[in-house]
């Protein structure tokens, strides 16, 4: 999305370009001395052009009939020298929903491996860790559920961070530390593309009530720190996590109804490895809602425990299934319930079962997949069937649907029922 350029972002961009432009000059000088043409970095340019269109399967009084309608160009530039790697990846697209031209830099970073025990990656980058399959507990990096729900490519589920990632590697354990100098929220549901349950209006709303949020945005003050300590023991991957920052999507509101992002700390662990014929994973996270430790403030999210157990296995040739059980447990529920002034109360626990099925056919050119989320406690569900066909190495065709269903219109997936949509896309890679 086009936003006014702020000083911090400008700093990152300038740093990036200074490094990009000066480094080859330095290198050219070196190369002249020992006249070795092999050392010149080669610039790799790739990308794709894509048309994507989709529509709602039912009328939504608060949104357009089209759910997605875009022509998108993604370009990627990559080069490297002896001491560093540089990458830029950006998208421009004409968006039929916002009726605007849009652009987004997905990656603009430099990476260096200065010593045996240190990796550094600075700039705009996509970050992921944790063991969940499309469920994130300790991964506090920004997500874009909006893109996911309207049927963009899975790549867009992850939104970029403007961050510095420093990794240390030792025999005892490895440590990743990610510093984000200015809070990067999720690209949460605002009503622009997807209608949602509006607590204040006590009804579903969309383009008639775009969420206004007061996002913490002071550089080096409203910052985020995420740390992962991990170790591989006989290919069992163990990790501890810590996060200091904010709820990634509005986790509260002011008395006047402006959405806010309260302070949040997260502590957790995960383990993943071979069990029987498949891969098992467990992950837990304690969400400490710092602004409402007692749970008595109805305008700020309660603290939570979140736990996940999953198992993935091949059921037949080129047919994989992944099953997960996920639970969110509110820690100060009685205080939450006592302080609730209006609207339906949510359950203390939210249980979600996810099942992902993937089948490859026709020499792996055709992929049929189904991602499904079902919550027995909220009695709602989300299904994401997808058919992906590689017509040639360069040309792919895709069609799919996002199906939301729920008994009540205020539950997590139930609120999106009117957004149920189908989509199709054609992509040319270069």
């Amino acid at each position: 999305m086009i936003k006014p350029v702020n000083p911090g972002k400008l700093f990152f961009l300038m740093l990036f370009f200074i490094l990009m432009f000066f480094e080859p000059l330095v290198h050219a000088a070196e190369a002249n001395e020992n006249s070795s043409p092999d050392q010149f970095p080669s610039l790799e340019i790739h990308g794709f052009l894509e048309l994507r269109a989709g529509c709602r399967m039912q009328n939504d009084p608060h949104e357009k009939d089209i759910s997605v309608m875009e022509t998108r160009l993604q370009a990627e530039l990559f080069t490297y020298t002896d001491w560093a790697e540089f990458k830029y990846k950006g998208d421009v697209w004409g968006d039929g929903v916002t009726e605007q031209g849009e652009c987004d830099t997905r990656e603009a970073w430099f990476f260096s491996r200065p010593t045996d025990f240190l990796d550094i990656k600075i700039g705009r980058q996509v970050l992921t860790w944790g063991t969940g399959d499309l469920v994130f507990l300790n991964d506090m990096f920004p997500k874009d559920w909006q893109s996911y729900f309207i049927g963009r490519d899975k790549e867009y589920l992850k939104a970029p961070s403007n961050a510095a990632k420093i990794s240390f590697f030792t025999d005892l354990a490895n440590v990743d530390a990610v510093y984000t100098p200015q809070f990067d929220s999720d690209r949460y549901i605002t009503g622009e593309y997807i209608s949602y349950w509006n607590e204040r209006l006590e009804r579903c709303a969309g383009q008639d009530a775009i969420v206004t949020a007061d996002k913490p945005d002071r550089w080096f003050q409203d910052d985020e720190i995420a740390i992962r300590v991990y170790k591989n023991i006989n290919n069992y991957e163990l990790a501890l996590y810590g996060y200091h920052g904010f709820w990634k999507r509005p986790g509260g509101q002011t008395h006047s109804g402006v959405a806010v992002f309260p302070d949040l700390n997260v502590y957790g662990f995960s383990a993943r490895g071979q069990i029987g014929l498949g891969i098992g994973n467990i992950e837990c996270a304690y969400y400490q809602s710092v602004d409402d430790e007692s749970g008595s403030n109805p305008l700020v999210n309660n603290s939570e425990m979140r736990c996940l157990a999953g198992y993935t296995q091949d059921l037949a040739r080129d047919f994989n299934a992944s099953l997960q059980y996920y639970i969110e447990y509110m820690l100060d529920y009685s205080d939450y319930k006592a302080s609730l002034s209006s609207g339906p109360a949510r359950d203390r626990d939210r249980h979600v079962i996810t099942l992902q099925l993937t089948k490859l056919l026709m020499n792996q050119k055709l992929e049929l997949s189904l991602s499904s989320y079902y919550s027995p406690s909220d009695r709602d569900a989300y299904l994401r069937p997808n058919i992906h066909y590689k017509y040639t190495d360069k040309l792919t065709l895709e069609t799919g649907a996002n199906i939301f269903s729920g008994e009540e219109s205020h539950t997590f997936f139930g609120q999106f029922e009117n957004n149920t949509n189908i989509y199709a896309a054609i992509r040319y890679n270069f």
Binding site: L127, K158, N235, L277, I279, N320, N363, D393
Partner: protein, 277 residues
């Protein structure tokens, strides 16, 4: 005079050497042939790298390409466990993906496999119970790339020609595989498996893998010059669906001193220069 006698002596020694070599080779047991063939196909050098290009052609003649750089390291010198690292360059939808395998020869232990997807920065662990699925949509199977353990089959020497030992290999656990047996042609000089023909019930030939080009790759081992015979072109044909894949192996280097750390999450997320070049 002295020089002449030395030369004669040297010829004599060489001759005896060859003669003994021939004699020994003739007396090789089936297990020794299999062991040597397994070593030649998969374990030469302590480690190695190369660029793999696959051209996949379907029945209608439509062509698809796969390109990746592969790093390989033997865990020890017993021709057993290995680590593989593949960095994809083509086609576009898999570019910069990394596929990593810790291969375990013990039958009771599955390989460990990881896939790194750069656009999501996602390290995915892959269940690896079935090794007889197509590798990246080609006519080669996972097991053709990382090798089928000799302990999974019983081996029988059915014929010796001037050029080949011809072995019949029958799986000990036929439920795990789609073939009933396969015939391997192993070169008598190099012990390289040059041709494998897979048969289904009723002696129906349905799959052929053939090495069509063998090159000597120079390297150094313990400070000495060595040459490793290496298959640089091979063709896999699926007679059932009429498709074939030609795999070429280039930029090959052996004994480059790959560290164990290459085959960890650190390098999965950011590839080593060895894999990028």
């Amino acid at each position: 005079m002295k020089t002449k006698s030395i030369i004669i002596a040297a010829f004599f020694v060489l001759f005896i050497g060859f003669a003994c070599g021939e004699g020994r080779a003739d007396e090789l047991t089936v297990d020794e042939i299999v062991r040597k063939a397994n070593h030649m196909a998969l374990y030469q050098g302590a480690d190695g790298k190369g660029k793999v290009t696959m051209v996949i052609q379907d029945k209608q003649g439509r062509i698809r390409m796969r390109e990746f750089n592969m790093l390989r390291k033997n865990v020890d010198d017993r021709d057993r466990d290995q680590k593989y690292y593949s960095f994809f360059q083509a086609p576009a939808d898999v570019r910069k993906m990394v596929f990593m395998v810790h291969k375990h020869v013990a039958i009771e232990k599955d390989d460990d496999r990881w896939l790194y997807m750069p656009s999501l920065d996602l390290v995915k662990r892959i269940a690896a119970s079935d090794k007889r699925t197509s590798f990246v949509g080609s006519d080669f199977l996972y097991e053709d790339i990382s090798g089928r353990s000799p302990t999974e089959d019983t081996h029988e020497l059915i014929k010796k020609t001037d050029q080949y030992y011809i072995l019949k290999n029958i799986p000990k656990n036929p439920d795990n595989v789609e073939f009933e047996y396969y015939i391997a042609h192993i070169d008598k000089k190099t012990f390289m498996p040059m041709k494998m023909e897979f048969f289904k019930k009723g002696d129906r030939l349905y799959r052929i893998i053939e090495a069509t080009k063998l090159e000597e790759i120079q390297s150094a081992e313990n400070g000495k010059e060595v040459a490793y015979p290496t298959v640089t072109t091979s063709i896999a044909k699926d007679l059932e669906n009429g498709s074939m894949t030609e795999m070429t192996f280039s930029n090959i280097r052996y004994n480059i001193g790959l560290g164990d750390e290459i085959f960890t999450e650190r390098y999965l997320r950011r590839p080593p220069r060895n894999a990028m070049r």
